[in-house]
């Protein structure tokens, strides 16, 4: 019962919520972009356009699924799977709330697990670009490989600053430490947060770092040759990865499931009027804020040139994150941090 049924139920719930959420993110993204461009956005399907995501999903289900004749058939099929599985797998360790009900599992190296598993997703992009047997796809895949390798490094350093401050790799423990210290890590780690989020945007191939799928230069980049549900998997993977990055930013820097000012306003959160709010509500609220930031970025920033991208990654973010790590480590040492 405890080892089979309950985890299974949790898995199904998480998967359903995640996939539905990713589908609806496309709708919200279109709405937000439209509003930034003083348009109205999709508003025809269903009341106020709310069924647009469902309609899109249905459309993708019934679309013809093409495979290029000269492609590497097996790898071509494998690539979308490789992209979506790691993105969904990460949610096994993300804590949505303080107690065991609100998470699937808590392992003591969860942070390492997240970084490792989410890095596997890049194989999907490279293999998808290569197996399509198309120059544009291959270019997209190569760009993505270079980009992800470059940005993985400063991201790792940004995450390490949090590990130094928390003294643990367990995501649950990291949030607990933030509650115990009475300060969320975004305050001492403001530079780390900036580096982390910029790298996160780059790793999910989103504007302004969307070179792998730059429509204006590479048609569709690595997913040029994909159609139907295979393409939808790429899309779903991208949005799931966005949720992953946002959830990780929430856990690492914004106190996960904790309500705002958990210690200062502790009497307020204990009030019966507020106490019934489940902790995941706060978690999802913060995640939503980060995802909105993603879309805001997309509506604001133009795409980087490739050499600018590389310069930013290696010559700005890497030194900054390294220096920041040193400063934070020194601070923890002086302030008598945990060992």
């Amino acid at each position: 019962m405890t080892y089979l049924v309950i985890p299974l139920v949790k898995i199904v719930v998480i998967l359903l919520v995640l996939i539905l959420g990713a589908a609806y993110l496309t709708f919200f993204e279109r709405k937000i972009l439209a509003y930034i461009q003083i348009r109205l956005g999709p508003n025809r399907v269903g009341p106020k356009g709310w069924l647009q995501a469902i309609a899109d999903a249905l459309k993708l289900f019934v679309k013809e699924d093409l495979t290029p004749a000269r492609s590497e058939k097996f790898v071509f099929l494998l690539a979308p799977v490789l992209i979506i599985v790691p993105a969904l797998l990460v949610f096994a360790v993300i804590p949505f709330g303080p107690s065991d009900i609100w998470r699937l599992t808590d392992i003591n190296v969860a942070l390492l697990f997240v970084l490792g598993v989410s890095s596997v997703g890049i194989y999907g992009i490279i293999l998808g670009g290569w197996s399509s047997n198309n120059k544009y796809s291959l270019m997209g895949g190569l760009r993505s490989a270079a980009q992800l390798i470059s940005y993985e490094v400063p991201m790792g350093f940004a995450v390490v600053t949090v590990v130094v401050m928390a003294g643990s790799l367990s995501l649950v423990r990291i949030v607990e430490v933030q509650r115990e210290l009475g300060v969320w890590f975004f305050l001492p780690g403001i530079v780390a947060l900036f580096v982390y989020f910029v790298c996160g945007v780059a790793e999910t191939n989103r504007n302004p770092f969307d070179l792998p799928e730059a429509e204006s230069e590479l048609v569709g980049g690595f997913h040029t040759e994909y159609s139907g549900m295979k393409w939808a998997f790429f899309f779903l993977g991208e949005y799931a990865n966005m949720i992953v990055i946002s959830a990780m930013a929430t856990v690492l820097f914004f106190g996960g499931w904790l309500p705002p000012f958990p210690n200062l306003l502790a009497p307020l959160w204990a009030l019966p009027a507020v106490a019934w709010v489940p902790p995941p509500f706060w978690f999802l609220l913060k995640v939503a804020a980060f995802i909105f930031l993603y879309m805001w970025f997309r509506g604001t920033f133009p795409r980087y040139r490739f050499d600018q991208l590389m310069r930013l990654g290696w010559k700005v973010l890497l030194p900054v994150s390294l220096a920041n790590l040193m400063v934070v480590a020194l601070g923890v040492l002086i302030l008598g941090g945990r060992s």
């Binding site: 937000i32 509003y35 930034i36 461009q37 003083i38 348009r39 109205l40 805001w296 970025f297 509506g299 604001t300 920033f301 700005v316 900054v320």
Partner: protein, 181 residues
Amino acid sequence: MSWWDKILAFIPLELVQGLGVTGKYLFRKKVTVQYPEQRLEPKDRFRGMFGFSEERCIVCHNCAKACPIDIIHITDHFEESVVDGKKRKKKVLDRYDIDVKRCMFCGLCEEACPTKPVAIWLTTKTYETAAYERNERLYFDKVRLQTWDGVLPFPGVKAPAEGGMPEDPKAEKKAAGGEGA
């Protein structure tokens, strides 16, 4: 660039500035016109679907001559009648066809019309003339030019046959302030 400027260059204030601009636009009033439900009203001088009035037409052929691509086709005959013991000849319109699918809406036919008010005018604000078959449906004879069969009139505008014959189609008298019904 001093060392201080180099450090400041690391702080991405311009990014925040840009985000501020788009953030402001997020709450702007939206400019979308929801077309089938809402329509923008064209200006008075807008050249749309032809209006034609057979009773105003004096069959002078000026419009056909003025047309640069000769898409107006007119045939007529004389009818003789005796009025007060005198023989009278009168021109009667047989055909008045406009091949609207080739029309470029230059409005020269309207300019050439000598009658007052003009017998052919384009200031109808009506632009929804789409048809599935262009040779049949966009070739207007004198009946369809007046009944506007197959044309969706702009709200408030009537087909010439239904009384949509403005006194001042070209809006020459400013006081009239337009045309339409």
